[in-house]
């Protein structure tokens, strides 16, 4: 069994067995395989990179090569119990529209993202004066896929503005969960469970 990335482990632990799931930006299908094998979920995936798609398909998973910014429109409303967007939100061209689509095709949505307000990043920008390169965000400013950096407070503000309900939230630092208090300063990653 593959050991899941901490944010994926949280998502997996909070999905009901047998659920219909769409993993947007599913990579090579680690989460999908875990959901299928451990929880009997009907998991589908979307992934932009053809090498990852082939790898996931070679594991027998149903994955389509597609772009979250464009191809979510093809799915009917509430086609899935959960739509998942893990570590992908910040790479999309229009995160706001992608979130709308996510909450349209899924009755609930899991969203995880790296928190750009974590203190190490703040320090790096404050004292270094340069775009931070950290373990979580290893790419440099010119080759990063992360084109829409977001903080936990930004995201909460956005949800409030759009009247999206938070059904659950988890915060990670060094692979361990941390408390919601001070998460915007302390957490490296956030996982939200959302609904309309």
């Amino acid at each position: 069994m593959t050991i899941l990335r901490p944010d994926l482990a949280i998502i997996s632990a909070n999905i009901a067995p047998g659920a219909r799931v769409l993993d947007v930006g599913c990579g090579n299908g680690d989460l999908m395989a875990a959901l299928r094998d451990d929880k009997g979920c009907d998991a589908r995936g979307m992934e932009i990179d053809s090498g990852n798609v082939s790898a996931a398909m070679a594991r027998g998973l149903s994955v389509i090569q597609g772009d979250a910014d464009v191809d979510l429109l093809d799915y009917p409303q509430a086609a899935f119990d959960y739509a998942i967007l893990s570590q992908t939100l910040q790479t999309t061209r229009r995160p706001d529209l992608v979130l709308e689509q996510l909450l349209r095709v899924g009755r609930k949505a899991f969203v995880s993202f790296p928190n750009f307000a974590q203190w190490r990043i703040r320090v790096s920008l404050m004292w270094g004066g340069r775009m931070p390169v950290t373990q979580q965000l290893p790419a440099r400013w010119y080759d990063t896929p992360n084109i829409h950096h977001v903080t936990i407070d930004d995201f909460r503000g956005f949800l409030k503005e759009r009247s999206v309900s938070i059904e659950g939230q988890w915060f990670l630092s060094g692979g361990k969960t941390t408390s919601a208090a001070g998460a915007n300063l302390l957490a490296e990653h956030a996982v939200f469970l959302l609904s309309r």
Partner: protein, 372 residues
């Protein structure tokens, strides 16, 4: 099953029919030439049907009786290969309208003479219904998978739409849900080349004597260009001259690409019947799956339980990736379990016959996911 005459190489069956055709008429008897590789299990649940492309035939994994060359998909079908004959009973049929033993313009019309142009115009769905008759004959009520590229992919789609309960998984390679104006135009060039050959004689050329080889060769040459990519042609031939130092300032095949195409055209006439080419290209031109479902492609797949996998190739300009995406979109709208990948290859439309390891892995993974 060992002594069961229904299975094995070079099999042929004459089924009573009648087979009602989309064009209005019917066909009886229905002759089908086919082969099987591997052993059908006790509950007949391990059958995989292979559907060939326009100029293919049932010899997918055996030597071709006319050319002596290995079958067209030996790299995919065999023991331990992605379509594994140790685990599956793989069945490969010649489509009706074809010229390798299934009912077609070359076969007996019932009065001792070949049908020639009296053979009814058929559709992709007619081909599929004929295959379903064969599956009945073989005692296979449900296919573990159906696999096809190009026209074979159209048959696979048509199977899934026509017999949703008879197909567990459908693999559609380098195909399309409808023939475009450009696709039809290329086919029409080929048909006109055949019909313009004085030896075609309204299709009545079977009595011995000359056959419309020149026309058929031109048809093949024009079509062959559409199967290759510009990149592939450039890499293979560029502007290189054929066995000569300089241009001849004549109309001989100066360029290697000309010589190659002429060879492709001529060798094709050894193994293919011109009238079959007319009938099969016509069937493909009539292909528009959505048309039979109120113009909405998703309706062809409503409530389907079949798993689907579509594969396109980035240099295929005959049925480009957008055509596969149209099908994926419809399958998503229908809530089907669908996979799709565009694979990079320099070989154009013909990539599915050639060495593309990533493609093999995808086929293997998709087939394995169905169990057995």
């Amino acid at each position: 099953m060992k002594d069961d005459q229904r299975f094995g190489l070079n099999a042929h069956v004459k089924l009573l029919g009648p087979l009602a055709l989309d064009g209005g008429g019917s066909l009886a008897p229905v002759e089908i030439a086919y082969e099987s590789y591997g052993v059908l299990n006790a509950d007949a649940s391990n059958a995989i049907l292979i559907c060939h492309a326009l100029t293919g035939d049932q010899h997918a994994a055996s030597n071709h009786p006319i050319t002596g060359k290995p079958g067209w998909w030996t790299r995919m079908i065999g023991p331990g290969k992605p379509i594994d004959t140790d685990r599956f009973c793989v069945i490969s049929t010649n489509v009706i309208g074809g010229c390798m033993g299934s009912s077609g313009p070359e076969t007996d019309s019932g009065d001792g003479t070949p049908f020639a142009m009296r053979f009814p115009v058929i559709t992709i769905r007619d081909m599929v219904r004929a295959q379903a008759l064969l599956m009945d004959h073989l005692g296979i009520s449900r296919l573990h998978a159906i696999v096809g590229g190009s026209m074979g992919g159209m048959q696979a789609m048509s199977w899934a739409a026509t017999y949703p309960d008879r197909v567990k998984a459908t693999l559609i390679i380098a195909s399309t849900s409808r023939h475009s104006a450009q696709n039809i135009a290329f086919h029409e060039v080929g048909r006109q080349a055949i019909m313009a050959d004085p030896n075609w004689r309204g299709g009545d050329y079977y009595g011995g004597g000359k056959t419309p080889d020149a026309g058929l060769a031109v048809a093949r040459m024009a079509a062959h260009i559409t199967y290759l990519s510009e990149q592939g042609l450039t890499e293979k031939f560029g502007r290189q001259l054929q066995n000569r130092e300089t241009k001849t300032f004549g109309f001989d095949a100066d360029f290697q690409v000309e010589s190659y195409l002429r060879h492709q055209g001529l060798s094709f006439t050894d193994r293919f019947d011109a009238n079959s080419y007319l009938y099969i290209t016509r069937a493909i031109d009539y292909w528009d799956l959505a048309e039979d479902y109120g113009g909405v492609l998703a309706n062809a797949f409503r409530a389907t339980k079949t798993r689907f996998c579509l594969v396109s190739f980035d240099t295929d300009w005959l049925y480009p990736t957008a055509e596969s995406r149209t099908v994926v979109k419809a399958l998503n709208a229908a809530g089907a379990a669908v996979s799709f990948v565009e694979i990079a290859s320099p070989f154009g439309h013909d990539a599915f016959f050639l060495d593309v390891p990533e493609f093999d892995r995808v086929v293997d993974g998709f087939i394995r996911a169905g169990g057995l």
